[in-house]
């Protein structure tokens, strides 16, 4: 600690340069924080389906290939399956394509039985929903986002499904109630959910009647989940619609990977940013030490050993990177709500910022080591020869 005033004063020797260097590192770490958070969110997706007792069955070859609604009866007959429900991807948005809505046509009884005790919804609203054919139950976060109220009639535009009656892609629903999730870790994943009646959808669509995209199962004994998956898939082996049954989290991961290897893309961007930063900050540190050679020589003259001089220069680099990383990561933490707005349904976690601390230390060592070694190896007589 006794060296801190010296290190601090040295760091601010050229204020303008230090501020600009600091800003460039702050921006790099802001980007790091944001991209790491997104990467973390995609690498650790929340399915919105909680519990180890949930399985998901899709077409063996692609989730986009349909299964038959009638298969639910066969799946229900598999020993160990407590309940099964079926879902079709609606692909909807509200007014503009940027207003994505995770609209799901669901069979009320089986859906809420599979997801027993996961949602908070009043009995009155649930009963009203059951009684209203065009009704919808909407997540409270989505209601808040669009300023919807119970009783509102809202149109959703499907990117896939035309209506049988007029060929329109626009479907209108009556908001009957809102619901929340009991598990706060699922709040993000459920934030865009909009549930409506499967019967309305199936009867109203102009094609694909009876087809669904996946089944969700609740099993009685989670330890038997793997065996039950195998039993379900065995039912459809060698049929035209072979299935793939997997735990809900695995399904979500596979779903996310449809977007491509997001982690690779993000890491590539970060790699380019930090590579450029290494040159920028490294050059600044080298220049700073070059300018201070007589001062470093004086420190050595006073009795500061090689190790101490090396430590002082490294500490300066660490201090610079630590301050900049702290500011950058704090800014990216503050930006989490904004990112959440742009990435609906993706769960963001501050845990993603932890690698930033390691990155800051690594950057400081890489950037600080060459000038620190140069300072350490400084020959006092040569260094003082120009200025005595």
């Amino acid at each position: 600690m006794k060296y801190f005033p010296l290190i601090w004063a040295t760091l601010w020797r050229k204020k303008t340069r230090t501020i600009f260097t600091l800003l460039s590192v702050v921006i790099a770490f802001l980007l790091f924080g944001v991209l790491e958070t997104i990467d973390y969110a995609f690498a650790n997706p929340s399915s919105g389906i909680t519990g180890a007792d949930k399985l998901i069955t899709t077409n063996k070859y692609s989730i986009t290939l349909p299964l038959h609604f009638a298969d639910a009866q066969q799946i229900r007959s598999v020993p160990g399956v407590a309940e099964v429900t079926w879902i079709t991807w609606f692909g909807g948005y509200y007014q503009e394509s940027k207003n994505f809505v995770f609209a799901l046509p669901v069979d009320t009884d089986t859906y809420f039985n599979v997801h027993k005790n996961e949602f908070v919804v009043s009995d009155g609203q649930m009963q009203a929903y059951r009684n209203t054919r065009t009704g919808a139950l909407v997540n409270v976060a989505l209601m808040k986002k669009f300023g919807w109220k119970v009783g509102d009639k809202v149109p959703l535009h499907s990117t896939i499904w035309t209506q049988k009656k007029d060929g329109s892609l626009d479907w209108t629903f009556d908001i009957i109630g809102s619901y929340d999730v009991k598990d706060p870790t699922q709040a993000g994943a459920q934030a865009s959910n909009f549930l409506f009646h499967y019967e309305l959808f199936d009867e109203g669509r102009s094609y694909g009647k009876g087809q669904v995209h996946w089944f969700e199962e609740r099993v009685g004994d989670p330890s038997q989940a793997s065996a039950i998956s195998n039993r379900i898939d065995a039912l459809f082996a060698n049929s035209p619609n072979e299935t793939k049954t997997q735990p809900a989290d695995d399904f979500t991961m596979a779903f996310v990977k449809q977007f491509g290897d997001i982690g690779f893309v993000l890491r590539a961007i970060l790699g380019a940013v930090f590579f450029a930063l290494l040159f920028l900050t490294g050059n600044t540190m080298m220049q700073s030490v070059r300018e201070r050679i007589p001062e470093l020589a004086v420190l050595k003259t006073l009795g500061f050993g090689d190790g101490k001089v090396l430590g002082l220069v490294l500490a300066e680099s660490l201090l610079l990177c630590a301050i900049a990383a702290a500011i950058g990561l704090a800014l990216s933490f503050a930006a989490l709500p904004i990112i959440k707005m742009g990435l609906q349904g993706v769960q963001l976690s501050p845990k993603a910022l932890i690698p930033g601390i390691g990155a800051a230390v690594l950057l400081a060592l890489i950037v600080g080591m060459p000038p620190a070694l140069r300072a350490m190896r400084l020959n006092i007589v040569d260094a003082l020869a120009d200025k005595r």
Partner: protein
């Protein structure tokens, strides 16, 4: 014979730059007594600064023995020399070589960072050193807010603060006007006379050399008169 604080025996120093080798000092013998104030004079390139570097433990000889304050410097490595410098020698340079971003007080405290003194003790000692050189009122000022004479006084306070056995000064008045130079030389004389500091000064200035108790002249890497104590 007085006790020698500095003793050089057959000291030679050769610098090699690429294929060129230059013999800067040759077979040099010198004794300086404890408490002496010695001025080293001579033309440029005569080896004065090289000799000062060897005495101050900034450099090592190519051959020969150097004993300063009871320590054989020619046997020490760079770490040993750094520790020895911290404990035994204070340096004063022509251009002061103060840290521009630190106040006078903080500059003077620098050598004390290598000790186990508390922050309060370091501050008190630095203040005492600044008072001794008559510049305590400028403690909060940075070097660029001081005149040349004031900056050199701060440099002398820095050299003194760890209570070294020996002060080595390389052209300490070379950058000062006559009055400031005389003030600095009087200060050095006082430190020698009243505080018993051994001082070796390299100077081109005959007037400055007059402040010393003994003058040594060098030319072409050798002392012109006998350097050993009588």
């Amino acid at each position: 014979m007085s006790e020698a604080i500095i003793s050089l025996r057959n000291v030679a120093k050769r610098y090699t730059r690429g294929k060129q080798s230059v013999e800067v000092l040759q077979g040099l013998n010198l004794d300086i007594a404890k408490g002496e104030f010695v001025a080293l004079m001579g033309p440029s390139g005569s080896g004065k600064t090289t000799l000062l570097n060897l005495i101050g433990g900034l450099d090592t000889p190519t051959s020969g023995e150097i004993t300063v304050a009871g320590q054989r410097l020619d046997r020490l490595g760079s770490g040993g020399l750094a520790r020895w410098r911290a404990n035994h020698v204070g340096f004063v340079f022509q251009f002061y070589n103060l840290m521009p971003m630190l106040s006078a007080q903080r500059n003077v405290e620098l050598p004390l960072l290598l000790t186990h003194l508390s922050a309060a003790q370091r501050k008190a000692n630095a203040q005492a050193a600044l008072t001794l050189v008559g510049i305590a009122d400028r403690a909060k000022h940075k070097p660029n807010e001081l005149s040349g004479g004031q900056a050199q006084r701060v440099a002398i306070a820095r050299a003194l603060v760890a209570d070294p056995t020996l002060l080595v000064c390389d052209e300490p008045t070379g950058d000062l006007d006559r009055k400031s130079a005389d003030d600095v030389l009087h200060l050095l004389q006082m430190l020698n006379r009243d505080h018993g500091k051994s001082i070796v000064v390299v100077t081109h200035d005959p007037k400055a050399a007059e402040f010393a108790g003994r003058q040594l002249h060098m030319d072409k890497g050798a002392l012109l008169e006998a350097g050993t104590l009588a």
